[in-house]
Amino acid sequence: MKLLVPVKRVIDYNVKPRVKADGTGVDLANVKMSMNPFDEIAVEEALRLKEKGVATEVIAVSIGPAKAQETLRTALAMGADRAILIESDAEVEPLGVAKLLAKVAAEEAPGMVILGKQAIDDDSNQTGQMLAALLGWGQGTFASKVEVSGDAVAVTREVDGGLETVSLKLPAIVTTDLRLNEPRYASLPNIMKAKSKPLAQKKPEDYGVDITPRLTTLKVEEPPKRSAGIKVADVDELVAKLKALGVAA
């Protein structure tokens, strides 16, 4: 079966985001961008399924600005077979992304779509579930283990109290949690090879999907700053502080 892996270009997770002074958003000019960490895990899982012989082809897809090509090339360098870029300079909301991905899924007929559980920029945690709803497929969210057997996939999920395993009929949606795997690094030869792998360029209009945003961001602010704390010199002082806070007798 084919695997479809949506990837998103986001601010690098090591960068501390700065809110613009005019409150319109976060300053992304000249900031290092990378593939969303959960999406790297999704690509890695797809590649492992291909290496096991479960999957035949891995297709990476991204919706975003022209520069999202770099993110797709990273996926290709990791080992994806081909890529699709749906170019949009405007930010596309999870619902719009899910609608576009549903169209791509209808065209490509993958056996599974593997997404990251959330993007570290908007922290929505919606796209995978929305895509599952639009396609009428089962969803295995927050996956820490994925096992395909026949026409079903067993997904072990990270839930609040621990782990839970569900079995889904294929085709299905899986969203990755951090502990699913350790993504590989792209080697230099593979980065070179990735440059010649196919990358199809599309526009949202090609899919006839209305991606008009439903939400308007009125303002973006910095969270309230914590007031400067104090340092205590030794344990006795700390004990006194804890007593003053009423958490120690």
Binding site: A133, G140, V239
Partner: protein, 309 residues
């Protein structure tokens, strides 16, 4: 505006996360609840007692056990015919179900809201809590998940809601529950604890984590948390993880032991009332958010602290 709140329950008991969601929903208007699962009459009765609750819808069917999103979402979509908003706590169930409901209703979801500014305007954290966005929706119906620590819990008693059975939308046959491994906790639950003691990579290994962090937590009656580094290194199970990708907590007192304070960790705990940091690196970022800091070797400090409490 009529809101429908997802009732989170486990083992026949209502979970606290529901109470915060009820508080958020009440800011939008009339609060109705949905209790789904088999043998949930007791949970429904408990839910009807929550202060301010009107109707409690009960869907009694094994198809709704384990809150499988494929089965639960159509049930909620049915009820949304006569509700204006669906509100769920940002628990793993809430996060799993709500977006599926939103897409079926063709609306955008508002994730993990921190406040209700008006019926269509909300605040929510983005970029690991480094930016707070005020967002207005143009959708006719709202689908919302609520950050529990941002809202007071509604009173669990004093309400007199009416209980009404709703017909099941059945098993969609897309998914089935296989099993669960639930971590045993002898201590308070992380997300509702008043005091939390968290350990990081500096704890070295699982045995050291236990022998250092657990006694201090027990002295303080605290829940135990961990940084991602400690979880990835296998010191403790992953449901101990506090952070952007783990649990979001806001206790009265958060004690960070051997945690450097990466932004992903801070995203999960920086709304704690008082933060105490113990770290040997005086330049560790954790000290920028800590109210009380102690620089030194945790292997000396923590046992001494435990001893003196």
């Amino acid at each position: 505006m009529k809101t429908l709140v997802w009732v989170e329950h486990e083992g026949g008991a209502l979970k606290d996360a529901t109470l915060s969601a009820v508080t958020a929903a009440a800011k939008l208007g009339e609060v109705h609840l949905i209790v789904a699962g088999s043998g949930v009459a007791g949970v429904a009765q408990e839910a009807a007692k929550i202060a301010g609750v009107g109707k409690v819808h009960v869907a009694d069917d094994a198809a709704f056990d384990h809150a499988l999103a494929e089965n639960v979402a159509p049930l909620i979509v049915d009820l949304m015919g006569h509700h204006d908003a669906f509100v769920a706590p940002s628990t793993s169930n809430g996060k799993n179900i709500a977006p599926r409901v939103a897409a079926l209703l063709d609306v955008m979801q508002l994730s993990d809201i921190l406040s209700v500014e008006s019926a269509d305007t909300f605040t929510r954290p983005t970029y690991a809590g480094n930016a707070i966005a005020t967002v207005k929706t143009s959708d006719a119906k709202r689908v919302i998940t609520v950050r529990g620590t941002a809202f007071e819990k509604a009173e669990a008693t004093g309400g007199a809601g009416s209980i009404e059975a709703v017909s099941s939308t059945g098993d969609k046959g897309l998914s089935s529950f296989v099993g669960a491994e639930i971590a045993k906790l002898e201590r308070p639950e992380l997300t509702s604890a008043k005091v939390i003691v968290s350990g990081g990579r500096a704890l070295k290994d699982g045995a050291t984590f236990e022998s250092t962090i657990f006694p201090l937590a027990d002295k303080l009656g605290a829940a135990v948390g961990a940084s991602r580094a400690a979880v990835d290194a296998g010191y403790v199970p992953n449901d101990y993880q506090v952070g952007q990708t783990g649990k979001i907590v806001a206790p009265e007192v958060y004690v960070a032991v051997g945690i450097s304070g990466a932004i992903q960790h801070l995203a999960g705990m920086k709304d704690s009332k008082t933060i105490i940091a113990i770290n040997k690196d005086e330049d560790a970022p954790i000290f920028q958010v800590a109210d009380i800091g102690l620089v030194g070797d945790l292997f000396k400090i923590v046992p001494e602290l435990t001893e003196k409490l």
